[in-house]
Symmetry: C2
Subunit: 451 residues, 2 copies
Amino acid sequence: MSRNAPNAHALRHRVVIVGAGFGGLFAVRALRRVQVDVTVVDRVNYHLFQPLLYQVATGVLSEGDIAPPIRDVLRKQDNARVLFGEVVHVDLATREVELDTLGGAMRLPYDSLIVAAGAAQSYFGHDEFAVHAPGMKTIDDALELRGRIFGAFEMAELDCEAAERDAWLTFVVVGAGPTGVELAGQIAELSRRALRANYRAFDPRSARIIVLDAADTVLPPFAKPLQRRAHRDLEALGVEVQLGAMVTGVDATGLHVKRKDGSTDRIDAHTKIWAAGVQASPLGASLGDQSGAPVDRAGRISVQHDCTLPGHPEVFVVGDLMSLNRLPGLAEVAMQSGHHAARTIARRLDGDTTERPFRYIDLGTMATIARFKAVVSIGRVHITGLVGWLMWLVVHLTFLTGFKNRVSALANWTIAFLGRGRRQRTITEQQVFARTREIPQPKGGVAERET
Amino acid sequence: MSRNAPNAHALRHRVVIVGAGFGGLFAVRALRRVQVDVTVVDRVNYHLFQPLLYQVATGVLSEGDIAPPIRDVLRKQDNARVLFGEVVHVDLATREVELDTLGGAMRLPYDSLIVAAGAAQSYFGHDEFAVHAPGMKTIDDALELRGRIFGAFEMAELDCEAAERDAWLTFVVVGAGPTGVELAGQIAELSRRALRANYRAFDPRSARIIVLDAADTVLPPFAKPLQRRAHRDLEALGVEVQLGAMVTGVDATGLHVKRKDGSTDRIDAHTKIWAAGVQASPLGASLGDQSGAPVDRAGRISVQHDCTLPGHPEVFVVGDLMSLNRLPGLAEVAMQSGHHAARTIARRLDGDTTERPFRYIDLGTMATIARFKAVVSIGRVHITGLVGWLMWLVVHLTFLTGFKNRVSALANWTIAFLGRGRRQRTITEQQVFARTREIPQPKGGVAERET
């Protein structure tokens, strides 16, 4: 606890871990009984349980339910400290990480480095879409979308033309992967069930929810029967599934779509959500430049079989930033690769320097469409419907357990799923002010806003 | 549900209610069985249970726990609709309310009007303090303070000079009324208990929490024995109570204080919270101009004995915006005056036009200092300690009941009070970016932030 503590341990092996997502967190946990000094750095103060982000965006869970503070998760791990800041550069030659904090710049020397910086939303070269169609990668994204979704229903309740009301009641989710499918399903449940009797000028069940994708199936990574089942489940909920549809433009009041047959059309919709692609952290490009490792179009860096950079056995790249054996960008891959990197460091300190390749064990994938409806794939076994949903629930609660949020998340889920309501529907004033810049004002003009 | 519905009811008496705080909400509820058309207007989409706002600021509860959507609370009240917008003007001559919405300007004609627009934070003419010392009146305030409080501990964990660390670990609450006392008590509990083992560079128990006030007692409206007890309880928690201390300046890194003996000094503290005064809605001044009713320094408008404007029996002013019989700005006063206004409208429609003055029934006041510690005053009866705290808990849970948030709030309270943690500690990135403009950067300079 003394200010000289770092010097007292100067001889201990220093491990720096960049990012406290699934990859980083599993790496630091795997080092808990190893004689090292671990420093975990993240630009946010929480570990994000990303698979449930869509539940924050739709008012089921609060941000705290899925985002435990990193330092609280690690409070009992004495060999680890957590620093709040953004890594702007890794210097492979001097073995230092450059950190940008609110208190100034810092340089962190390392003996071993695990880069688990993850990925952000990708707009495939159209970053200008972002302001009109927020992504689904961060707590800020989810809170922004929550404000937009509930705000859209508020707007529809104001006196307005029928066409304008229809545009407020149209929700377009771009991307039919697990996130897009889950989000569309939740918005459908919201409008069909949770918001019942809340409005006087319209029936919320009349809301139109569209999920669209350039691919010709929903849930591309899943097996055909599960795709068909998910497609059917979505339509039963009232979601329009539009496949072979490429978004060519997004603006404040709608989006332009090019169909598979070459035709184009416009969808009038105030609320657009982008769940279509990811772009790895910019750290990847820099690490590629310095080490000569190839970086793919999505910004992911090709690593050796043991997750290290070529020529830099002390540097590991794991999770969404890693390109290895065509592994998908799943939480499970991040966890296992983070764990592998940490175990490799521990083995080396024990004198075992043999190189062991990372082997991913596929524990199965799942996606939930709505309450009581999920698709689960474990090897060749497919499970759907209520049983699939119960499996999904058990797995997600088990993961949250480690973060001590199980009791409250369970309470909130019980209320939200079995009850009628959505507890988290707050639109902050900050969001309202931000949006006044974006929403086109009618010609009648608006009186000056008082402060 | 048809678009002509408003015309179909054109002969019904139209009641417009401005604001859905305690005054507005109790007014609309009191009209639920009356043959009127009620329109409730608010600039936010939630009813704020303000007495628990400090629990959002300190991570105990989520915003949704204390801010149920207005339209969900009123979903079963068929004669009421809710509009999301800000009232910028009331025209007493034409009997219209001018509404500024994200969809444009609207004019709402009324037959009876209840103005329950409440009050905002007052900086006593020093609005420039606000950026450095946010108030405690809105959900946005509470979320901003949550980010600053947990962010301050993050900053202290970064490598920094001892003096700088002390300034990050000093929290100053300006104002020793119920809000200030409750907030200071919660920050003390946070640092003494909830954040245990979270940091490596310092012990969070070393945090300094100061509550200061120009008055010479804490909790001015309470009786002397309760003030003494609250003062003692605060000090036992480790809170420094500084009385007779007037704030003369606030900046990013501290504040200037003038003591009762005329001396002045500076307190170095990055986190300042303003809980010192209120200023009624600007609508008060405009209503005073039009009706000739006096408006006091705090912006409150003097009403007739039945809460109406002089010369305008169809316009009621209730709650914090109302000045009548020196009644304090309490939730209970707002509820009872809102109810009185609604009942008066209902009586008149029944043909009873006798004027009945508003009579406030004092049901007691309470303030909580920490878990298991509260002071309660019911007439001449004083209750303190655990019994007082249990009363406080029952009363607050009972009020939340009506909003259906009881189960989850109870679950969250149980976890937070009896357990060790604070579930809601998210710092949004939006807040971090906003703060980079305010925090002075050290001379070493900071590398460019990547986006």
